[in-house]
């Protein structure tokens, strides 16, 4: 299979899966927007109404954080199961083992495209000005895409090694939810050293903070921090591609014989 055939296959698998999934539900494609918004609603009720959160403009703050986080967490959890879910295909076909995870991640890109469109419209309609700084969204989205691909491919591989990793990955994304400043502001951490290391060790925290800088404050994100995230994302991606390149046969045997 040529590179272009792989891209066509990944994209077609993603689009067809989304189409099949939408057919199962009465509200079909509306769930692309409704599911993340329901998460936002739950967090909003708990933190703003019940716990009396004092974060200014909390709804927008939460929406930017949660809607970008869900893109990552959902893609990783679905990618983690992708090799097992395609066991039948692996038994019948010499398929590049990256394809199932990439197809799942591509589904997430399509969903997130709509979610981002909704988020930007919502912010503009609520008085946030569109400025030239919004161009920063393009590199931010690209870096998050690289991070998602690298982490998603590795998650699928780990679950292939041992099914227990599926539970650990689910738990890990919940841990990240609390450590990425979704419903609290990372800049509220008084100790600068702690804040620095939190952002270095958790690229999602830096990305979410950068989205807020751009969309809510109209300010360019910290380029040094983004550079780190880019380097970490590329490292994950390189590690994943290296591992898949050397483990194509091993993955097939492991998945098919399980």
């Amino acid at each position: 299979m040529t590179f272009s055939q792989i891209i066509t296959l990944v994209d077609t698998l993603a689009r067809f899966h989304l189409k099949g999934e939408a057919r199962q539900y009465l509200l079909g494609y509306l769930w692309w927007i409704m599911e993340p918004l329901l998460y936002v609603a739950v967090f909003y009720i708990v933190f703003e109404k019940l716990l009396q959160n004092r974060q200014p403009e909390f709804l927008y703050f939460l929406m930017v954080g949660k809607l970008t986080f869900i893109w990552f967490s959902k893609s990783i959890n679905q990618a983690a199961n992708s090799l097992e879910a395609n066991k039948g295909l692996m038994a019948q076909l010499n398929l590049r083992k990256e394809i199932p995870a990439l197809a799942v991640i591509q589904q997430g890109f399509y969903r997130q495209f709509v979610v981002f469109g909704f988020l930007l419209c919502f912010l503009v309609l609520n008085g946030y000005a569109v400025t030239a700084v919004w161009w920063w969204l393009i590199p931010l989205i690209l870096i998050q895409a690289l991070l998602t691909i690298g982490a998603g491919l590795l998650a699928a591989l780990l679950v292939c090694v041992q099914l227990d990793f599926r539970l650990l990955i689910q738990l890990g994304t919940v841990f990240l939810l609390f450590m990425s400043g979704i419903f609290w502001d990372l800049n509220a951490i008084a100790d600068e050293g702690v804040r620095h290391w939190l952002m270095v060790l958790n690229p999602l925290a830096t990305l979410i903070d950068a989205y807020r800088q751009v969309l809510m404050l109209g300010a360019a994100p910290n380029v040094d921090s983004l550079g780190w995230v880019l380097a970490e994302s590329l490292l994950l991606l390189f590690l994943a591609l290296f591992a898949y390149h050397h483990l194509q046969y091993w993955i097939a045997r492991k998945v098919v014989s399980r």
């Binding site: 055939q5 067809f16 189409k19 692996m90 046969y249 097939a252 098919v256």
Partner: protein
């Protein structure tokens, strides 16, 4: 004639829960040339499917070597490859063609051929979950025929649909098996082996027990297990 695929002292071991070095088969030597139609016979668990997967580059052998002729394509002929019940027959046919390595343009053209071949009318644009078993099998067979590989490996029954469609499917498969292609077929249907295959390989107890003329191998197979069961 240069073989399309040649297996040289191929062995396969799997780790199972009770045995980390379970030997499926060992020291298999086999070569498949263009125009050959080889029947692979043996009891359940003898390693027939695993051997096909080694030939199809799905598994690497634990020991030995597999040599493929330069540029040769080898793949399993699978009914319903990657089918998803919520997608229409048309979408599933398209997906199956792309999985078989066709380009988007080739796949689009092939989808129309599949529609004409499987004769399911307007159901082709309905979700596959609404199909009867026979309609699903027709769609699966029609899609599988788009496999353009030079070496085709068949690991499942090809008796699909009603008598009329079975005859049509058999004729279509015969037409596809041109002299430049080869087939390895896992089957126990004696009539199919005698009418379709040019040779047979009997796999048992982790090794090739006999190989050659299909009728002689079938007799050997029957004798081997009647001796083993004492009947």
């Amino acid at each position: 004639m240069t073989p399309l695929v040649r297996l040289e002292a191929v062995s396969m071991r799997f780790a199972t829960e009770s045995n980390p070095e379970h030997a499926v088969f060992g020291d298999i030597n086999l070569s498949i040339s263009a125009g050959e139609r080889v029947a692979l016979i043996g009891r359940n668990g003898s390693g027939k499917s695993t051997l096909l997967r080694v030939m199809a580059r799905i598994f690497a052998p634990s020991a030995g070597a597999v040599h493929w002729a330069p540029g040769v394509s080898v793949s399993m002929l699978s009914l319903g490859l990657g089918f998803r019940p919520d997608l229409t027959g048309r979408d599933n046919a398209m997906l199956s063609c792309l999985l078989l390595g066709l380009t988007r343009k080739e796949a689009k053209a092939s989808v129309e051929q599949i529609a004409a071949f499987c004769e399911i009318g307007t159901f082709f644009d309905e979700p596959v979950r609404t199909y009867s078993a026979g309609m699903r099998a027709r769609l699966g067979f029609g899609s599988a025929l788009m496999n353009r590989s030079q070496v085709i490996l068949i690991d499942e029954t090809l008796s699909v649909g009603d008598t009329f469609f079975r005859d049509k499917a058999r004729a279509a498969l015969q037409k596809e098996l041109t002299e430049d292609r080869a087939v390895v077929l896992v089957t126990h249907a004696e009539a199919q082996i005698k009418s379709l295959c040019t040779s047979a390989v009997f796999l048992g107890e982790g090794a090739v027990i006999s190989a050659g003329d299909p009728r002689a191998v079938l007799s050997e197979y029957a004798a081997h297990y009647s001796e083993a069961t004492g009947s």
